[in-house]
Amino acid sequence: MADEDDEIILSELSDDELVLQMHDDLYDGLKEEIEEGVNILLGRGWVPYDVLTKALVGGMKIVGDDFRDGILFVPEVLLAANAMKAGMFILKPLLAETGAPRMGKMVIGTVKGDIHDIGKNLVAMMMEGAGFEVVDLGINNAVEKYLEALESEQPDILGMSALLTTTMPYMKVVIDTLKEKGMREDYIVLVGGAPLNEEFGRAIGADAYCRDAAVAVETAKTFVARKHNSMGA
């Protein structure tokens, strides 16, 4: 069949070609192909951190950009993130062994009363795709839950999500509690969710509102870099 002539054999591609092909395969949510690609690059002697950043993070950046620009929607991004996770599963133990640089750590959760975790999951996956360590608290988190996780995990970033107009004010409850306890300045607080907007994020005292997962990753990078710079100064 003619199709067979077009079949791409991943192991026959050059490194550069393979990385580009993996970007396409992430875009198409091809989980097995991503696993194969990761293993090929590792077999060729790539360090795990390069596989993560060049193949996976590079690919998810394209997915994130197209999600932001209204070219891809949630179903496609979920598939892509799923494929990325399969690649990450291979890389994670290796990254720990090789002491690869860490981008930062995030605790994330959907607020009390809200069951919606689609957007939150996307943020968590994209953040992992960008090299962050993510602790996902799931849905329906009361302020105590957030505080507990902040104490035990000592993250750089707290992420909160709400999809309902009835639950989004709860983000302010959490931020106000952090302020009362004198903990607010210890963390970068990012908020997101369909009914929110930038002004709302500012009004409740968050560092930033992120309109989607791609923006969340970029914002997190910017704030973490700023935090590190200010600590160095």
């Binding site: 791409i8 396409d24 394209i62 209204g70 929607f73 009390k112 009363g113 989004m168």
Partner: protein, 337 residues
């Protein structure tokens, strides 16, 4: 058809639906994170006040306080065993208010999304989704709703599951989706694709349309998208009163009653037969909308430019329909099967 909504649609040119539920209940002291549905039993007078607010402002249809009344949502509050009760009482309170209105008022049983992702992307099976919606529908039916009202849906699979549940309950229904992502639903459904989906159902809704989403302008663009498909089915427009802002510990939507009055008239001109508001739409907005709909003559179908001029700009350049189907990505060409 003998149901009240069909009768009113046959008699009247346009009908006015209600406004916000959550925003109104917050103003009565509901705290964030608490499930509004529990108030049906715990604070029934507040729910009566919510319903009366819409009826007194001239609404012909109002939605019951049961948006999150499915087992998946109530489970968060350990109230998954109370689906039948909470929905029935939401409907009974509605019946009481509607029957005392002195004119025909439709009680519509609100059914919001499960909040879960359906297979194959997520874990929720079609069977379980149908079962949860059906359980809720039976509760609303037992409480005496005139019609089921499925709203804020983003996935085609979930819309179909709700339709099937309505059929199982033997109830007429309406169903709207929320177009909040670059003019599409979160799951990527365009207005055109939704109009086609509706007509392909074995038990299509009495009316379909858009609710919530971004702002009134985006919602109007979606309504024009439905109308462009040449549908004969009544179109529902239920847009938010602007966007949410936080002032002095309260959420306030920036859309004024005057703006919502303009929106209502434009929605009718665009082809919507059932016009209401969503988040942020208070009784004073509804009263202004009703006055405008009664007093102002019908006009020609508005253009996108006219909508943007009157209600503000759109959140994205394209909504994925028409000749400008939006941006696309150049691919490397080779695809594997």
């Amino acid at each position: 058809m003998s149901d009240l909504l069909s009768k009113l649609l046959a008699e009247r040119d346009w009908l006015m639906a209600d406004g916000a539920t959550g925003t109104n209940l917050f103003n009565m002291g509901l705290s964030s994170g608490e499930p509004p549905e529990l108030w049906n039993v715990d604070r029934p007078d507040n729910i009566r006040t919510l319903y009366r607010g819409a009826v007194d402002a001239g609404s012909d249809i109002f939605l019951t306080n049961s948006f999150g009344g499915n087992a998946a949502r109530l489970k968060l509050h350990d109230a998954q065993d109370r689906v039948a009760e909470l929905n029935r009482v939401a409907a009974e309170l509605g019946r009481e208010v509607a029957d005392a209105a002195g004119r025909p008022v439709v009680v519509a049983g609100s059914m919001g999304p499960t909040g879960e992702i359906m297979q194959p992307m997520g874990n929720l099976t079609h069977e379980l989704a149908v079962e949860m919606f059906h359980e809720q529908a039976e509760g609303l039916k037992a409480g005496g709703v005139d019609v089921l009202w499925v709203e804020t849906i983003s996935a085609p699979e979930e819309y179909k599951a709700a339709a099937e549940a309505a059929a199982l309950a033997g109830m007429p229904w309406c169903g709207t989706m929320s177009f909040d992502t670059a003019g599409r639903t979160m799951m990527g459904v365009t207005s055109a694709a939704f109009a086609a989906l509706v007509e392909g159902l074995p038990n299509p809704p009495l009316a379909f349309g858009a609710n919530c989403g971004v702002g009134a302008s985006d919602l109007m663009r979606t309504v024009l998208g439905f109308a462009a498909q040449g549908t004969e089915r009544p179109i529902i427009a239920k847009g938010n009163a602007g966007i949410p802002k936080f002032h002095d510990g309260h959420i306030h939507y920036d859309g004024t009653p005057e703006l919502m009055a303009e929106y209502a008239v434009l929605a009718r001109d665009a082809g919507a037969r059932i016009i209401g508001g969503c988040c942020g739409t208070m009784p004073e907005h509804l009263a202004a909308m009703h006055k405008a709909l009664v007093e102002r003559p019908r006009g020609p179908r508005p253009t996108l430019d006219q909508i943007a001029e009157t209600l503000g700009g759109f959140s994205s350049a394209s909504d994925g329909t028409g000749d400008e189907a939006g941006p696309a990505r150049e691919r490397r060409g080779r695809r594997r099967g």
